[in-house]
């Protein structure tokens, strides 16, 4: 009986959270027009969410690309197909690794920071203070951050893929001696602008939307204690990772399922 009650409590709590998250998203989206009128708020957030993540993205993109180059070469050389290294590196980065890995890094780097910031604002009653002064905290604090995350992730994913391809080229051409003409031309003939690159961009747009939403909601919904904020930050990273990976499967099935 006790366990059934616990299950019921869990189910009710989860649906309540989902409902609150949905209402929260609606409030954010409703705040977009008035935020666009004060775009300087978004620029400030673009700096802390986007610009400060660039270095992380550059370094990880370069190394992911270099590892892909090495691993791809060792596999392909057995089939005498090491000229296809460029295709392999470019397609795996543009279709999958670029959007997914940069979204995961973004959730860890920027998402957790957003949750902690908003959770702390809530626990120090800055948000209620704003409401007292008739300033809508959603429009003043949340929506600019949402737009900033939504804009930055596609850009970061593009940077990640581009740097990764250069990393793969450095390893393939510089270290392993793959012919650089074949590397680029095979890549260019097999990579399609719309089917591959645009679908990757769409993926990163979706991830940017979801990750920032989760991060902001967790911060806004956190229990206003230091422990609550800590838990909310952890939840942001975990839930974002789940959301990214499962959405990635769904999106891939939708985009590339029927060739």
């Amino acid at each position: 009986m006790d366990s059934i009650q616990r299950l019921g409590r869990w189910a009710i709590g989860t649906s309540e959270r989902l409902g609150r998250g949905y209402l929260f998203l609606m409030a954010i989206l409703a705040g977009i027009p008035s935020t666009l009128m004060r775009f300087s708020l978004v620029i400030q957030q673009l700096y802390s969410v986007g610009v400060l993540s660039v270095f992380l993205i550059l370094i990880s993109g370069l190394f992911v690309g270099m590892v892909l180059g090495l691993q791809g070469y060792y596999t392909l050389v057995d089939f005498g197909a090491e000229e296809s290294l460029g295709v392999m590196v470019a397609l795996s980065l543009v279709r999958e690794l670029g959007p997914v890995v940069s979204a995961l890094l973004f959730a860890g780097r920027a998402g957790s920071a957003l949750t902690a910031e908003i959770g702390l604002m809530k626990s120090t009653e800055q948000l209620s203070g704003m409401e007292m002064m008739a300033v809508d905290p959603i429009r003043r604090i949340i929506t600019p951050r949402f737009l900033a995350g939504f804009i930055s992730l596609p850009l970061l994913a593009a940077i990640f893929s581009a740097v990764g391809i250069i990393g793969g080229y450095i390893v393939g051409y510089g270290l392993l001696g793959v012919d650089d003409g074949a590397f680029w031309t095979q890549m260019q003939t097999k990579t399609d602008l719309y089917a591959d690159i645009m679908n990757g961009v769409i993926k990163s747009v979706v991830f940017g939307f979801v990750v920032t939403w989760i991060a902001l909601f967790e911060g806004h919904d956190a229990i206003p204690t230091s422990e609550g904020v800590g838990r909310a930050t952890t939840r942001t990273v975990v839930h974002s990772a789940f959301a990214i990976l499962s959405l990635d499967f769904v999106l891939t099935a939708l985009m590339f399922g029927e060739v």
């Binding site: 197909a81 593009a158 940077i159 690159i197």
Partner: protein
């Protein structure tokens, strides 16, 4: 609220960097690069069978890439494939009796056109036709012929 100029500048740089990366992906990685090839001249070659040749496949002479396949169409009079080659202007000294064949890079690799220079004094110009062509090797046909000749030899 005014913010520091440096914030705005770095955000601007970030956006430019992101767009540049997208531009790089579109131009350098995907197949949208037809206009960054150096300008060239067009030559047509008729093949009995083009196999897996595609537009943008490389055209080589002595293994060096000197152009690309621009388009492949079916000639409805001769039922052969008419392939338009776009050759770089810097290789303008191909004799008129140059031969074109379709080869495969490796056993499973992509197909390309290999040119072999002839001995004529005159050179190919824009709009000329390459007369001597050799069709793509279709592996099934070769195996079929091989088996056929084997069977015939045993009798």
């Amino acid at each position: 609220m005014r913010q520091k100029k440096s914030t705005e500048v770095t955000v601007g740089l970030f956006v430019i960097l992101g767009l540049l990366a997208l531009f790089f992906l579109a131009m350098k990685v995907s197949n949208l690069t037809s206009f960054n090839d150096e300008p060239g001249y067009r030559v047509t070659a008729e093949f009995e069978n083009v196999g897996g040749l595609k537009a943008r496949s490389p055209v080589t002479l002595a293994g060096v890439r000197i152009g690309r396949v621009e388009s492949i169409t079916l000639d409805s009079d001769t039922y052969s494939a008419s392939v338009v080659l776009n050759l770089y202007a810097s290789f303008s000294t191909l004799p008129t009796d140059t031969a074109a064949s379709i080869y495969t890079a490796g056993l499973l690799g992509e197909q390309y056109i290999g040119l072999e220079a002839g001995a004529e004094e005159e050179f190919l110009k824009d709009g000329d036709v390459i007369e001597l062509t050799q069709p793509a090797l279709v592996l099934e046909q070769v195996i079929g012929q091989f088996l056929f000749s084997k069977a015939g030899g045993n009798e």
